[in-house]
């Protein structure tokens, strides 16, 4: 099985207040099979370098958007990134097949509890449903869409000492993706990746490394 190269596009406009995302990003950055990009750092003025971003997409197999959920969507720069980088003729349209068969996934944090993101909760929709524009973007560009890796109640993760747990899951997930052990087909019915891969994600990382 071929090892996959991961491109992590991280968008967080106020990282000095971040409690979960920055730690996740730093962890990802420390892995040699992940190219971790801080979009707000690279383009503080939103002057996104289209060529550079497209080149980066071409040289990776898995694309991850990592962001805190802002108004049920991505922070502004990720939208800007899509508008600019996913050009006609590159990502879609005639000859626009540069992203074909890549794996696409979102890693999000949400302030609300998991039960809020249900039809009967106050957010009325699941995160999977809310992220449908991205899912469709992935589909139109020929990528395979994975359900999101989601951390709920992120504002209290630190106080409730859940940070270590989330980071372990995140680390495992990145490892699994790298080893190509997560299949888009099998996960299609899931709301989040967390629920489907609980056992694998909660495995101890040290023992995993040995096996």
């Amino acid at each position: 099985m071929k090892n996959k190269r991961i491109l992590l596009l991280f968008a967080h406009p106020s990282q000095h207040r971040s409690e979960v995302n920055s730690a996740m990003f730093d962890l990802a950055k420390s892995l040699d099979f992940v190219t971790a990009i801080d979009l707000y750092a690279n383009y503080p003025r939103f002057n996104i370098d289209i060529d550079k971003e497209q080149q980066q997409l071409l040289s990776h197999d898995i694309i991850i958007f990592q962001f805190p959920l802002y108004w049920y969507s991505t922070p502004a720069i990720l939208k800007e990134w899509q508008d600019l980088v996913l050009e006609y003729g590159f990502a879609y349209g005639t000859d626009g097949n540069a992203l074909k068969d890549k794996l696409f996934m979102c890693a999000i944090s949400a302030g609300g509890k998991e039960i809020a993101y249900r039809a009967e909760g106050y957010n009325h929709f699941t995160v999977r449903e809310l992220l449908q524009p991205l899912e469709q973007t992935a589909t139109l560009t020929g990528m395979h869409y994975l359900p999101p890796f989601a951390i709920f109640s992120s504002r209290s993760a630190k106080e409730e000492n859940r940070l270590e747990h989330h980071l372990k899951q995140w680390h495992n997930l990145l490892n699994l993706l790298h080893k190509d052990q997560i299949s888009a087909e099998k996960t299609q019915s899931l709301i989040t990746l967390n629920e489907g891969y609980q056992a694998a994600l909660n495995e101890n990382i040290a023992t995993k490394a040995v096996s």
Binding site: N47, D49, L84, Y88, Y92, G93
Partner: protein, 637 residues
């Protein structure tokens, strides 16, 4: 010829050995020169009588110094000083003269001699005092500013004194001198105004002064432009020297003080764009000549007379200094000069000065003071000058620390904290940098060599320090070795470059962010090691040009992206050009003036933009491009 070489060699050797040594021992360069003079003169006897001639020549250093002082003083500032100048300076001259003359009278001197002695000792040493202020970084303190007003007033007062002294001539001395006409003094050799009637004399003086002002104002600029455009540095130096020498000559010819004339010319040129260039050109000459002057003072000490009248001379010297210091102290109280500034003011001006020498030899020529007394007094003058550096040391080591401990208001410009960012230059540019950093809780140390600027900033509670950031010792006190960043926003191009070079060489861990004047300068800064440079006008000009496009009807958001593209192309083209520039030889690099660089860069921007457009890849046209019409039919297949 050979003898000149040998002499020059002796003086230089003495200076080269003694001055750094004195500096290292914390004695200051002036004392170093004086000691060097004593060693080669009275102690070893290597140099002899010629020191007197050399001294007259070296007095020209004082003239140059006043020119430089004038350059630092804008007319506006001079006008603001008028009260201190006339009040403080005038009173100092009058009271000191009166008290000294009174004591001379008590010592049974005739009144004419007493008055002449009073005049001689009312003057202080501009050369030593200003040089020491500069060296010790005291130039911008209240005490030194007041001292400067007094010195300036004294220099002005020399003119009427020179006119007045011949009237004090002692009849019996005049008779004796009738036959043996003494050798004329250097500034008495030639005169345009000798034998003119009074009205013509006044007219000549007025004409010369207004000539200096008018020519300085209107003619100097085109002249310097013309010379500067030749690109020959030495010719510029020659022009600067021409200016100073020419004015000094003119002033001497009409019987005015050359120092005053060049001071005036300096003030006139203070606003000129060539000010810094002039300063840096004259500076080394001034330094050397002043050094030479001090050496000759040391060498001229006559040990024979000194040892014969040791006790008398020492007593006289100490009394003179005590009287002068007391008068100054009194004035400091009246004029509300406080704390350590009062000490600085009183101690720094307690000596007699080089104009004292001039007046003494003038009184001898004019038969005012008998020779034996005059040569005794010359020693007093010299000794008091010799003691001045010691007084400065006392001030620095004993008095200043006491006041520093008392006041933690930062009233004195000793840097009492270290910041992680040092900002050199707090003009319009540095201020913005400082404001953003301070507003975000970054500790900054701000250095500027312009007194007014720092004063203004202090009024709005921005902590800043007087001082020339290009001086290694000041950088050291500012804590350069612990700083993370150095922001260079000083006005002097050359100094900015040298500062960059110095810091990157000695403290490579400090990141240097430098403000450049133009493209050429930014390249020079980069070559000197600057980590980041920005042209001072670049961003504001880009903003304005964007506003221009918006005003013309371009969409504001589209304009924003045109600007971005421009900036990107510019910066990449600029980097390319920098590489080329860097690899050019020294000579070629010198030829690349701003205009040439600009044309080259502009060409490369055009080329880059043309290529992009042809490829339809210009990023400003590329963003948010809608898909072609009818593209969606494909998806429905």
């Amino acid at each position: 010829m050979t003898i000149y070489f040998v002499q020059a060699f002796i003086y230089l050797v003495a200076a080269v050995i003694a001055v750094p040594l004195a500096k290292k021992l914390g004695l200051g360069s002036v004392l170093g020169y004086l000691i060097a003079g004593v060693v080669i003169g009275p102690i070893t006897g290597i140099v002899g009588q010629e020191t007197v001639t050399i001294q007259h020549f070296a007095e020209f250093g004082v003239v140059m110094m006043l020119f430089l002082v004038g350059l630092e003083l804008e007319p506006k500032m001079l006008w603001q000083m008028r009260n201190r100048l006339l009040g403080l300076g005038g009173l100092q001259v009058v009271i000191t003269t009166a008290v000294t003359a009174g004591i001379a009278l008590i010592l049974k001197q005739p009144w004419t001699v007493a008055l002449a002695i009073g005049l001689v000792f009312s003057l202080s040493s501009t050369a030593i005092v200003l040089q020491t202020f500069n060296e010790k970084g005291l130039s911008k303190t209240e005490g030194s500013k007041n001292a400067f007003s007094v010195l300036l007033m004294q220099d002005i007062a020399v003119i009427p004194m020179l006119a007045f002294i011949p009237m004090l001539a002692l009849p019996e001395l005049v008779d004796a001198a009738q036959h043996a006409k003494s050798a004329a003094e250097h500034h008495e050799e030639l005169s345009l105004v000798a034998g003119l009637p009074t009205w013509a004399y006044a007219l000549a003086i007025l004409g010369s002064i207004s000539g200096v002002i008018i020519l300085g104002h209107f003619l100097s600029r085109p002249l310097f432009h013309y010379v500067a455009s030749s690109g020959l540095r030495e010719i510029f130096v020659a022009t600067a020297l021409l200016l100073v020498v020419g004015i000094a000559a003119l002033m001497s010819l009409v019987g005015l003080s050359p120092a005053l004339g060049t001071f005036l010319a300096g003030v006139v040129l203070a606003n000129s764009e060539f000010r810094h260039e002039l300063e840096s050109n004259i500076e080394p000459f001034k330094g050397l000549l002043l050094g030479l002057f001090f050496i000759t003072v040391g060498a001229g000490i006559n040990f024979a007379i000194l040892s014969e009248n040791m006790l008398l001379i020492i007593t006289l010297t100490l009394s003179v200094m005590l009287i002068k210091a007391s008068v100054l102290w009194l004035l400091a109280v009246i004029f509300k000069i406080k704390n350590s500034d009062r000490w600085l003011f009183s101690l720094s001006l307690a000596q007699a000065g080089e104009f004292g020498f001039v007046l003494l030899s003038f009184t001898m020529q004019n038969n005012v003071i008998p020779d034996p007394i005059a040569s005794l007094l010359q020693l007093v003058v010299a000794l008091s000058m010799f003691l001045t550096p010691l007084l400065f040391i006392v001030f620095e080591k004993v008095i200043l620390p006491r006041y520093q401990a008392k006041s933690n208001q930062g009233e004195y410009d000793t840097i009492d904290e270290e910041g992680c960012v040092i900002i050199a230059g707090i003009g319009r540019f540095g201020q913005i940098v400082n404001r953003l950093l301070v507003a975000n809780g970054v500790k900054t140390i701000v250095l500027d060599h312009e007194a007014g600027q720092v004063e203004n900033l202090r009024k709005v509670n921005v902590k800043s320090y007087f001082g020339d950031a290009t001086r290694p010792d000041l950088l050291h006190t500012a804590g350069i070795e612990h700083a993370r960043l150095l922001v260079i926003a000083i006005d002097n191009k050359e100094e900015a470059k040298e500062l960059t070079h110095y810091v990157k060489k000695n403290f490579p861990q400090v990141k240097v962010l430098a403000r450049a004047f133009d493209k050429g300068h930014s390249y020079e800064l980069k070559a000197a090691g600057a980590d980041y440079t920005v042209n001072e006008t670049y961003h504001s000009a880009l903003e304005l040009s964007g506003e221009a496009m918006t005003s013309l009807g371009f969409h504001p958001f589209a304009v924003e992206h045109k600007k971005t593209t421009f900036a990107q192309t510019e910066s990449s083209a600029s980097e390319l050009l920098f590489d080329k520039w860097k690899h050019g030889s020294e000579g070629e690099r010198f030829d690349l003036d701003y205009r040439k660089l600009f044309i080259e860069l502009e060409e490369s921007i055009k080329q880059a933009m043309a290529v992009d457009r042809a490829d339809k890849h210009s990023s400003d046209e590329r963003g948010w491009t809608p898909p072609p019409k009818g593209y969606e039919s494909k998806f429905e297949e």
